[in-house]
Amino acid sequence: MDDIVLSMKGISKSFPGVQALKSVDFDLKKGEVHALVGENGAGKSTLMKILSGLYRADEGEIWLKGKKITTRGIKAMINAGVSVIYQELNLIRQLSVAENIFIGREPMLPGGFIDWKKMYSDVHTLLKPFNVDINPRTKVYMLSPAYQQVVEIAKALSLKSDILVMDEPTAPLTGNEVDKLFEIIHNLKKSEVSIIYISHRLEEIPKVAERVTILRDGEKILTKPLAELTTAEIIKHMVGRTLTEQYPKISIPIGEEVLRIEGLSKKGYCTDVSFSVRKGEIVGFTGLVGAGRTEIMQTIYGRMKKDAGRIYIDGKEEHIRGVCDAVRKGIGLIPEERKHQGLVLGLSVQDNATMTILDKESVFGFLKQKKLSALVGKMIETMNIKTPSARQLVRYLSGGNQQKVILAKWFLHNCKVYIFDEPTRGIDVGAKVEIYKLMQNLAKDGAGVVMVSSELPEVLNMSDRIEVVFGGRIVKEFRRDEADSETVMEYALGLRENASQQTPLEAGAES
């Protein structure tokens, strides 16, 4: 078995209150793509952080190319040829794209000066396969999450390691970039790079991987070639039960209009956007990365000032003066940037989840602690948030569970219209179903729901209407029964009709 490049044996790891990994074995062959799947909090990222040297396992050993690893630590593992794309974006926001990619390995001129020229041209080469126009001098905070992910991938590729870990690389990406990433992965395979691939988009797994390992509650369930498993079986092993339906769409009577947008424009981001949402309705928004969906929603939410357009809530025109005002008038927005816009990492699950309802659940400013605990307890249960307690700091939750906390925050709050921006990013199949159910419950209770998503199947299956965004405009509206993935993609790619403009790529997204 000399084609095994990596084997991890009997890895255990526990955190205060959580046993994250229980004696997990994992191996990786030369030139293979090995998928790692499991529910949120199953321990995937933890296993990878142990591999990268960031965490130290309580028990177990790691063998690389037949040699047992004795010196641990990040530097040692980088030198041993392991590079990792972490699940949480790990870029330095104040630095440029090029600086981020080459941090620690800057090309140097004699005299200790950085060779900027070489650095920039290397970045161009690295980004070329993605066919995106990212200026290497742009500061990272100005990029959308999708582009940040592209930078992150490019950074890992530039290390030219023989073992590459990708922890949910496609979560913020849309179909287009995903395809490009797969192309890159195929090329890497040819040059005998081994890849560990983690994703909650299970439809991707058979497309890229040869083998799969399934984790559940920190234990390894199985490792098998993908040829021997169906997606349904994978799901069953992941969640420990059979999922009857991935998209449990129920029919809800559609009521009156709650939100209408007319001619909304914001220079550099969106132009002449009009749409409406009715009570009980889920309106899906799809489009490519950088299409401007996020910006449309943030403009409606009052986070960015609109240049033109009218907003009607319950048929009445409203002037939204800012985010507070938007919330007061009944709009809630679940942002796509988890770390920077959705969570306070240093606060507990409870404090995060109840942030929007403190006004309601307090008397003279004093919190109704019991009531709040009960509400959060119920949310943890229904959404299956894996946390030792409601007092655990959100920082210590797994990526998917963090996302659930953000959702809980808004599920608890009463809005007329909910805008979900990438609500299921990084969430496992089982929990997705719960989230769809909760979303539909909101609709059933008479709210309107806007769902922005890059996962086309979710948009096609869960929406009553679908709006396709391209270059900051809505280029097409479908009813649920008219839409099929091919036509929708054609519009999203700008291959049809009035979609002639180019996507604005260089404009700085306000953050």
Partner: protein, 312 residues
């Protein structure tokens, strides 16, 4: 439960350090553990400690208030001026606190509306308030007040000096506010991630302004106690206090980046500084060596406390 334990541990190190210092001092100085001296220490600490409680709110939001010393100065001066003019005490108290609140409010407004960084605004306020104090007093101390007013700093209730009672009450109120109220939650949340708080539809500017108001109000309380205790308001009163006050908060475990800290930590931090100063005087350490020793103890105490540094 385990989480709770870790939380406790976080303030544990500094308490340990505190007790070590207490034990060492009581061994070397027989006077140290006398009731009289303990009361002395707490009473002396109260002036800084009260402001440190206000500062805790500010630092929790990720801000800083460099103006507390000067605000104490201007509140004290106006307090003294009004007393001299024969105003009733209750009115004077309200006005003194009012001046502190007004200064804090002004800082808060500049920070939130003009979006200037707290360091600069409160540095400016520090200079402005000191200037106003000098102008108002024409540079002279204002002295000599009624026995009734002098009770604030010198009186006793149930055998406890009134400054200590005010200090403890403020600590307890702040503890309740920070743990049991909306304001408290938002204070921590703003320090953790203000953007998230704003996107959750919370008027973060309101709460941010409020913490500076609280800081100003505590400076007002300290001004009342100091003015009463000294029986005079000096134009330079409070100069340089900001560093001691901020130090008490930070030694108590708060992070200057916001989001982490507690009133208990601040309370211990203030006492620690008070005890160090008192202890060194009792031991008769030469003033020059005192500075060296004080620096070493502060670093040493926080070193013992570094357990919590592992946290992130």
């Amino acid at each position: 439960m385990k989480v709770k334990f870790v939380e406790t541990l976080k303030n544990y190190g500094i308490i340990l350090a505190f007790f070590i210092i207490l034990v060492v001092l009581s061994i070397f100085s027989p006077v140290f553990l006398t009731v009289n001296n303990i009361i002395n220490v707490i009473r002396q600490t109260s002036i800084y400690g009260i402001m440190a409680v206000g500062m805790t709110f500010v630092i929790l939001t990720g801000g800083i208030d460099l103006s507390v010393g000067s605000v104490l100065g201007v509140s004290g001066a106006i307090c003294a001026g009004m007393l001299k003019a024969g105003n009733p005490i209750i009115l004077v108290i309200i006005a003194t606190l009012g001046v502190g609140i007004a200064c804090g409010f002004a800082s808060g407004i500049f920070i939130t509306k003009a979006r200037i960084t707290p360091f600069v605004v409160t540095l400016g306020m520090m200079s402005i308030a000191r200037g106003l104090t000098l102008i108002y007093t024409k540079g002279y101390p204002i002295s000599g007040f009624s026995p009734a007013f002098r009770l604030i700093g010198g009186g006793y209730v149930l055998g406890l000096p009134i400054p200590i009672i005010i200090f403890l009450v403020i600590v307890i109120i702040a503890y309740i506010v920070l743990t049991q109220t909306k304001l408290g939650r938002y204070t921590y949340a703003i320090g953790g991630n203000e953007e998230t708080v704003r996107l959750s539809g919370i008027n973060s500017n309101f709460y941010k302004t409020l913490v500076y108001v609280i800081s100003g109000a505590t400076a007002g309380f300290s001004a009342l106690i100091l003015t009463s205790r000294l029986n005079s308001a000096e134009p330079v009163a409070g100069t340089g206090y900001e560093l001691d006050v901020i130090a008490a908060v930070v030694i108590g475990g708060a992070s200057l980046n916001g989001g982490r800290g507690s009133v208990w930590g601040t309370f211990i931090g203030s006492l620690l500084i008070g005890v160090i100063n008192n202890g060194m005087n009792l031991l008769g350490i030469s003033p020059y060596f005192q500075q060296v020793v004080k620096g070493l103890i502060i670093i040493g105490a926080v070193w013992l406390d570094q357990l919590r540094a592992k946290e992130d």
